[in-house]
Amino acid sequence: MKHLAFKRGALILAVLLFSSILLSACSSSDKEKEVTPSGEAVQEQVELRLGYYSSAQTDAKMQELVKKFQDSHPNIKVKTESSPYGQFFQKLDTQIAAGNAPDVWLSDGVLVPKYAERGALKDLTDLIGKDLKHDEYYGLDFNKDTNGKYWGVPQGIQIGVLYYNKDMFDAAKVAYPTTDWTWDDLKAAAEKLTLDSNGKYATDAAFDGKKVKEYGLTFFSITEGWMPVLKSFGGGVLDPTLQKSIINSPENKKALDWIVDGMNRHLFPTPADLKSFQSNMAPFPSKAAAMRIGIYARTMDANNAGLNYDVTLLPKGPDGKRFSPVIANSWVINKKAENQVGDAAWEWVKFWATTDEAQKEWASLGEAVPVKKSVANSEQFLNGKPANKQAFLDSFEFAGTLDVNAVWSEWVGKFNESINRAFQGEIPADQALSTADKDVQQVLNEFYKK
């Protein structure tokens, strides 16, 4: 009797173990099936592993474009590997460490040098020189390193302009921003636009800075915050070699004073003020800020929220210098992708950049400025909200990257640490700059001076 029950227990265990092994065997044999067709009959077939980050909406569009690519390149079979943005790069680092990264992948523009300088990417200089005409594209040079080598081809471009909420300007009876504005003009307007919960503007003596309901300008971190201000004031973070900090400069001091003053007067939210919003990006679409320094992708949330807004060029610095921050999210090719696979990877990049249809389809999502100039300058891109989309294209004239190098994320983190303390009024501006200078230089030394 006992023996029987024991047997039954053992049987259940055995069945469970067996079924689990069977399940795993099934799933792995499915995978093998995909790999085997590279037999004799289809010798020319190449399987291309294409990695990209996406949302549910963008993934559908990407799949459509992959299908079009396969139709025009019947010998290439694309295997897509997509993940949500954050997880994509986490996985990519693991894949690179394990020597298993995709053959071609979409890199955030600020991360291209990270992969390039660690030897994970293929040098695309010759291929670009051979197949792409420089004048026909925006932003090829944003992936050029200090040695003149190209490591990626932009997939879509983010470029900064000044967003303004027309309704809020009208309500405060302030004239819309113009292309002649300096940062001081912007601040003067911000003062007239900043409103407390008692309905008093910042220009009013009774204004209560602790109860701001609508800020003049929202301001967040590097791209849509301090970098454009520092650069148009003549400052910046790294020298042209991208290995030396130039943070502790009089120009940066002037720029930082300008920002801190705006925050002290509650015209711009401090990093702590931003915490009371759903996200750091929420103030403008939720009508809690009249202006924002915004990249192209921000047209999506502004349009979704149904704002009555437009855009114009970012203001000039004290000496008339302008700067528009750029992030060129790019296709990069795995260094290990050689021969047929390497060719197929380049075919995909070329298809993306040169085909009008691919460019137009992607542009229709409204996520990025098209790379191909002819498409970016077409009605299809320029029509729709905001009315002055031309401002994005005009900004390319004075656009630059965010001093992107192999340790970009690390130094930005260090820089923000000090600078945010100055924004909160915890330390004076010059102390923040000298600390940031030291910290950032240390990060650079750790990587570049081995």
């Binding site: 006992k2 029950a5 024991f6 227990g9 053992a10 265990l13 469970l16 689990s20 399940l23 795993s24 799933s27 792995s28 499915d30 995978k31 093998e32 990695g51 980050y53 996406s54 949302s55 549910a56 909406q57 963008t58 993934d59 897509t80 590997e81 997509s82 993940s83 949500p84 943005y85 954050g86 997880q87 986490q90 996985k91 693991t94 894949q95 460490a97 394990a98 298993n100 955030d108 309901k213 919003f277 759903q278 996200s279 990006m281 929420a282 103030p283 679409p285 939720s286 009508k287 809690a288 990249i295 992708a297 921000r298 999506m300 949330d301 979704n304 929220a305 149904g306 999210n329 996520e367």
Partner: protein, 274 residues
């Protein structure tokens, strides 16, 4: 009499207020899931959605193969729970009852592995599963649980240690071998601990992000948390959909809790008996 009544009233009031405070974030999540994007981001925040955007839930369903994600998560979770219970209890039984050299040292080593953060292990695991051709399948996600995880071993060992030796000895007299003792005496006597471990494993696996994010690449293999994350893009938040999807994913966990609650209670009761 009136004194105790007063005490009761006061404690009820305190409990009601504190439970309301606890419920508030959950309620705001429910409300947020029913807002339009404009309402979701509006300042000052509007508590009650108006109009109520029920379509967020159907939209979530349209944005991705959510039934596929749910079934993937269910496969991983169920297999993990079974594997976790079996493997952890077997190892724990050995640590609790079988004499072998270096038993305590080995147990310390097992406990020590609990200190290693998951991120550190992920690259070696990735390489192993790559060599086993198991990447982009659900297998690595549950297989790992069949290999006895330290927390479960610890939990089960403590429960087994609490069983008096007398049971074991009388079973031995009746002719049971160690496996029979484990299967027929220890498992039935530690049901509440099994339930606890099952709930823990269920919750961990159902909500797991790191391993599925690293091991899976095809959309059709995504588990639910990765599916939910994929609703938001680099620039496009679509937060209201993410919230709605996250709420949907809570339902199975709530069900498991309701079902396993009596075992939790039983576990704490039986601690004092015998």
């Amino acid at each position: 009499m009136s004194h105790s009544k007063l005490r009761k009233t006061v404690s009820y009031i305190v409990m009601t207020i504190s439970s309301l405070i606890m419920l508030l974030p959950f309620l705001s999540t429910v409300f947020n899931s029913l807002k339009t994007y404009a309402q979701f981001t509006s300042i000052p925040p509007k508590w009650i959605p108006n109009p109520v955007q029920w379509s967020n839930y159907s939209e979530v369903w349209k944005l991705g193969p959510f039934s596929q994600y749910i079934s993937n998560s269910a496969i991983v979770t169920v297999l993990s729970v079974i594997g976790g219970l079996l493997s952890c209890s077997m190892v724990a039984y050995a640590f609790a009852r079988i004499e072998f050299p270096f038993r305590n040292t080995l147990f310390m080593v097992v406990l020590g592995t609990m200190m290693i953060p998951a991120v550190v292990l992920i690259i070696p695991q990735f390489v192993i599963f790559q060599n086993l051709a198991m990447l982009d399948t659900l297998t690595p996600l549950w297989l790992i649980e069949w290999l006895a995880q330290p927390f479960g071993i610890f939990l089960m060992r403590q429960a087994f240690l609490a069983i008096p030796k007398d049971y074991e000895e009388s079973a031995k007299l009746d002719g049971c071998n160690p496996f029979q003792i484990y299967w027929r005496i220890f498992i039935p006597m530690c049901k509440p601990t099994f339930a606890t471990l099952a709930v823990f494993t269920f919750m961990t696996k159902w909500n797991e992000i790191l391993s599925p994010a690293i091991f899976l690449t095809s959309k059709e293999n995504y588990t639910l948390p990765i599916g939910i994350l994929s609703l938001g893009g680099q620039y496009n938040g679509s937060e209201q959909y993410v919230v709605a999807a996250a709420l949907l994913s809570l339902i199975p966990i709530l069900l498991v809790f309701l079902f396993a609650e009596k075992y939790f209670v039983q576990g704490s009761n039986s601690a004092g008996v015998k």
